[in-house]
């Protein structure tokens, strides 16, 4: 078992009223799963993904990640855990504009304090694998959306995470580009990486092994 959410609640207080963003979420994810989270806009998909990714906290419930109780962890340890095991892919790519493709890929390794030679090798490997060697010195603004997302996925993957979290990774892409990314996810999944993606598309959801449906912050 990779992670487990037990009775997770998340809310915000607004004007004396408590608004629930997540209600009683129970979710168990095994290693090697490929999960798609679906639901209407505003149903809490991104919120859930951020909670799983430890970018956001929650107000009630338990969250265990690889035998660690995330809800009890200190900020520092949580960020170590996160750095070690999780990679994020965003709808709007979120590459660092001032850095080239190569440097963007290198960044997570720098934060993980990977040594120079090893780092270079890993970056070269990734560029190779994603077929973007020719683009390595370009800046994000010089790439198409699909290429940028490719770099985004590569960057999420480079530190060998166990879990990839993708929030509408194909939301800004055309159907052909979407398909490429999905194929890539599928291949990664067969290689053993656990993937949780948020998507609006039935077609994309079909790549996964399981679908979680959300409505008003509740799993249905």
């Amino acid at each position: 078992m990779l992670l487990q959410l037990n009775n997770i609640f998340k809310w915000v207080n607004s004007g004396g009223q408590r608004i629930f963003l997540l209600k009683d979420i129970n979710l168990q994810v095994e290693e090697g799963e490929f999960i798609s989270i679906m639901g209407p806009s505003g149903s809490g998909k991104s919120t859930l993904l951020n909670v799983i990714g430890m970018l956001d906290g929650f107000d009630e419930g338990e969250y265990n990640f690889l035998d660690e109780s995330v809800h009890n962890l200190k900020e520092k340890l949580r960020s170590n855990l996160y750095k070690e095991y999780i990679g994020f892919v965003f709808q709007s790519y979120h590459l660092l504009d001032e850095l080239t493709v190569q440097e963007n890929l290198e960044m997570p390794l720098l934060y993980k304090k990977v040594k120079g030679a090893e780092r270079k090798a890993m970056v070269a490997d990734m560029l190779d694998r994603f077929n973007i060697v020719g683009k390595k010195d370009l800046f994000p603004a010089q790439l198409s959306g699909g290429q940028q997302q490719l770099v985004g996925v590569a960057r999420a993957l480079i530190a060998n995470p166990k879990l990839i979290l993708a929030d509408e990774p194909t939301g800004n892409l055309n159907s052909q580009q979407s398909e490429e990314i999905m194929e890539l996810f599928k291949q990664l999944n067969t290689e053993g990486v656990t993937i949780i993606q948020v998507t609006h598309s039935e077609k994309n959801a079909a790549y996964g092994s399981r679908i979680v449906n959300l409505l008003d912050g509740r799993m249905i």
């Binding site: 996160y82 934060y111 304090k113």
Partner: protein, 796 residues
């Protein structure tokens, strides 16, 4: 990682050129100012420190009480040094009497040049640790010898190898050069000492032994304390060294002379005495400028903080991404600190260039010769510290602020720029403009006061007046002939000799007695001795009686008093009263003149006595050129006459107007400096709001577009973008007015003759601040307001 940070820092710099330009520009101007002020402060603090005996040398001061007014001065009678030597010898290693430093004509065989120097006792060479290039420090032991500085020796003999040569000092006899010393460095009290002649020689030559007593405070006395002696103990011990030697009933004893030591370490910055106690001096200025330096740097750092936190929306996304790919907060803090460090380093380099460019002007204004001490080890240490501190001040807040962003918030786009930082940014802008406005108030007040004093009615007319110093007896002996010859020219209105100039009647005298004088009244008068035509020449205004006249032989024993003197003496009907002046005789008061400003125009008029004199006290020949006549022709006429009667001396003259202007150089210097800093402060602050307003206009680009599509006018958009800033600046002004009033009121109290702090000074400063703000912001807001709305909407 470090390399990566540097890379990002540089890429960001190049990517946002405008922003970087404002950032580096503002910061480097601030740093350059601080460096200049730092060099100035260092120079002031290191004054006299070159002397080996810096901590042991002191000047002997004398405090006297004149009719309740306590004055402390360095003037001493020549009798004091022997007393200190004989009765208090245990305290001192050296005690020397010296004359004041003055200009003398030195004549070698072929060359003659006027140099400043003094006559002093032999111990002075050891005391000042003179570096002898030729001869020894014993060179003054022989009363017919003289020591020359390297400069003097070089220009008189073309070589430092001058020992054994003879030179004439003034018109006196030949002195043998017994040594040549290295010129004293510029930054000290004796830097203009180009020759040192023996005191014994002067004493004999001038017959001082028989002429001057305890009452003639004509000289200075320096001491070097004995090893292990405490300066203040020695100072307290010699307290009564003069009084003990006076007849208790004499007028001098009534002036209660108190002797004390003024340590060399305090000569320059702590030269003020109040009620006989050493209180302060120009150290106030050092503090003032030092504080201004720090404040200007702070203003520049504030710009940096404001511009960088204003960039937060742009940087927020980067922070969010970095956090999601594994960055921890401290790494981000570190990254932003490095960025500010890079900017500060660049700004520092630019500031050094600015300092080099501004150096000569700054030196001119401050009358110093400062330059960057490239080869000094300490300079580089201080520079590194300076860079580190500036980076810390300017970088820390943006770093902590930016690195604290929550990634999901910024990535989701719900990041709210109104949170937290805006109030602080506003506070900082208010602070900047409060400082700038206060400096403007200061500048206007200083200039107004100077202007006011400069226009003070003097009570006499110095127009067309010039003076030639009398340097030899020859001219004096033939004064009448010289006068007649000068008057032969159509251009000359009048000629008279005097002991002091009408612009500075610094001679004071006591020992007067008159009917009705309180026996305990220890009086002190300014005196001016002159020849007959002096009064008429300066156009004094006679209130009662008459001026000096050649018709009355008895006028050689007559006084003309000013109004203040009449009041001071308590005379009801002054004309015809008699005044006894020591042994000089009984003088009849023949006239009273209206008060004239014959000393510092900043202070009140002193009681002054005018008397006729044709003897050895005369120091200046005053000449009045007729109005509408060319002074040039008059001067060549005068020069010819002086050449004829005094061929040895180079002819030199000074217009009284120039002489008078010297009262203003100090204040003018301060005024220039303060206005210079005020302009810089305003400039830096404006750079800041320029950047901020540019940024805000950019941020609201889309909003402005929408508003315009909805029909907003250019004016309403200008108002939308400008009103916040104008409001902030108004708040600054409200703070600056009382602060400025408080400080300028303190400052102006130092002047007896002073302008009022009118309301318009404050109004003008406020107006100036608002106007500059208005113009600065309008550039940005109008640019935003007239941009095509389609363009702004499309960029999203």
């Amino acid at each position: 990682m470090f390399k990566n940070y540097l890379k990002i820092a540089f890429r960001n710099l190049f990517k946002r050129k405008g922003h970087s330009f404002l950032n580096i520009g503002g910061l480097s101007i601030g740093m350059a100012t601080t460096i200049l002020i730092g060099m100035w402060v260092y120079d002031e603090l290191s004054y006299n420190k070159d002397f080996e005996n810096y901590n042991e040398i002191a000047q002997v001061m004398q405090t006297q009480t004149f009719n309740g007014e306590i004055k402390t001065e360095s003037n001493q009678p020549m009798q004091l040094a022997p007393v200190l030597r004989n009765d208090y010898g245990d305290y001192f290693k050296h005690v020397v009497t010296s004359t004041f430093t003055f200009d003398m004509l030195l004549t070698a065989v072929e060359n003659k040049i006027s140099y400043s120097g003094f006559f002093s006792e032999p111990g002075v060479t050891e005391m000042l640790s003179l570096k002898m290039l030729q001869g020894t420090r014993d060179g003054l032991q022989d009363p017919s010898s003289i020591l020359l500085s390297k400069t003097a020796a070089l220009s008189l003999f073309g070589t430092v190898d001058a020992v054994g040569e003879t030179i004439k000092v003034g018109s006196a006899s030949n002195l043998l050069v017994s040594g040549v010393y290295e010129d004293l460095p510029e930054n000290n009290s004796f830097s203009n000492l180009k020759f040192i002649a023996p005191w014994e020689f002067l004493k004999k030559n001038q017959d001082y032994e028989n002429r001057v007593g305890w009452g003639n405070n004509w000289f200075q006395t320096f001491v070097q304390i004995q090893d292990g002696v405490n300066m203040s103990v020695a100072s307290a011990a010699i307290k009564n060294s003069k009084l003990e030697n006076l007849d208790a009933e004499s007028g001098m004893a009534k002036q209660k002379p108190v002797i004390q030591l003024h340590p060399m370490a305090k000569w320059h910055l702590y030269s003020r005495f109040e009620n006989g106690i050493n209180t302060g001096g120009t150290i106030d200025r050092v503090w003032l400028l030092g504080i201004i330096g720090v404040i200007i740097l702070l203003l520049a750092c504030i710009n940096f903080m404001n511009l960088n936190t204003a960039q937060s929306v742009k940087r927020a996304k980067e922070v969010g991404i970095r956090k999601t790919i594994g960055s921890v907060k401290y790494q981000l803090i570190f990254q932003f600190m490095i960025e500010s460090f890079v900017v500060v380093c660049i700004a520092f380099t630019v500031s050094l260039v600015l300092v080099i460019l501004a150096q000569s002007t700054f030196n001119e204004v401050t009358n110093k010769s400062l330059s960057i001490p490239w080869s000094s080890y300490n300079f580089w240490i201080v520079s590194v510290l300076f860079i580190a501190i500036t980076s810390l001040i300017s970088g820390s807040y943006p770093s902590f602020y930016l690195s604290s962003f929550k990634p999901i918030k910024v990535l989701k786009g719900t990041f709210n720029r109104k949170e937290g930082v805006v109030p602080l940014r506003k506070v900082l802008v208010v602070f900047q403009f409060a400082i700038s406005t206060t400096l403007i108030i200061g500048t206007i007040t200083i200039y107004r006061q100077m202007n006011y004093v400069q226009n003070r009615p003097l009570g006499y007319n110095k127009e067309g007046m010039l003076y030639v110093p009398i340097t030899t007896k020859d001219i004096l002996e033939r004064f009448e002939t010289v006068r007649e010859e000068i008057l032969r020219s159509q251009d000359i209105a009048n000629v008279a000799a005097s002991d002091v100039l009408v612009t500075g009647t610094f001679t004071t005298n006591s020992g007067f007695d008159w009917k009705g004088k309180d026996p305990d009244f220890a009086e002190e008068f300014n005196t001016l001795r002159a020849t007959h035509d002096f009064g008429e020449m300066i156009n004094w205004e006679i209130k009662e009686g008459r001026g000096f006249s050649r018709e009355y032989k008895s006028d050689s024993l007559a006084f003309v008093l000013n109004e203040t003197a009449v009041a001071y003496m308590g005379l009801k009907n002054p004309i015809g009263e008699y005044v006894q002046w020591g042994d000089s005789g009984k003088f009849k008061v023949i006239g009273v003149v209206k008060d004239m400003v014959t000393r510092s125009p900043y202070s009140a008029v002193k009681p002054t006595i005018f008397t006729l004199h044709y003897g050895r006290f005369l120091n200046f020949i005053n000449i009045k050129v007729k109005p509408n006549r060319s002074p040039k022709e008059a001067l060549s006429h005068i020069e010819g006459i002086f050449k004829k009667y005094n061929p040895e001396r180079t002819f030199s003259y000074t217009f009284l107007d120039e002489e008078y202007q010297q009262y203003f150089t100090g204040e003018a210097r301060m005024g220039k400096l303060i206005s210079f800093f005020a302009i810089l402060a305003i400039l830096i602050s404006c750079l800041g709001i320029f950047g901020l307003s540019a940024f805000i206009a950019e941020q609201r680009f889309k909003e402005i577009g929408i508003r315009k599509v909805l029909g907003a006018s250019v004016y309403s958009i200008w108002k939308l973008l400008s009103k916040d800033f104008l409001l902030l600046v108004m708040i600054s002004c409200i703070i600056a007015i009382p602060v400025g009033y408080y400080y300028m009121n303190e400052w102006i109290q130092d002047f007896n003759y002073r302008a009022t702090l009118s309301w318009w000074i404050f109004a003008a400063a406020v107006f100036g601040s608002l106007l500059t703000t208005f113009l600065t912001i309008s550039v940005q807001s109008i640019k935003a307001a007239i941009a095509k709305p389609v363009k702004s909407l499309r960029t999203e």
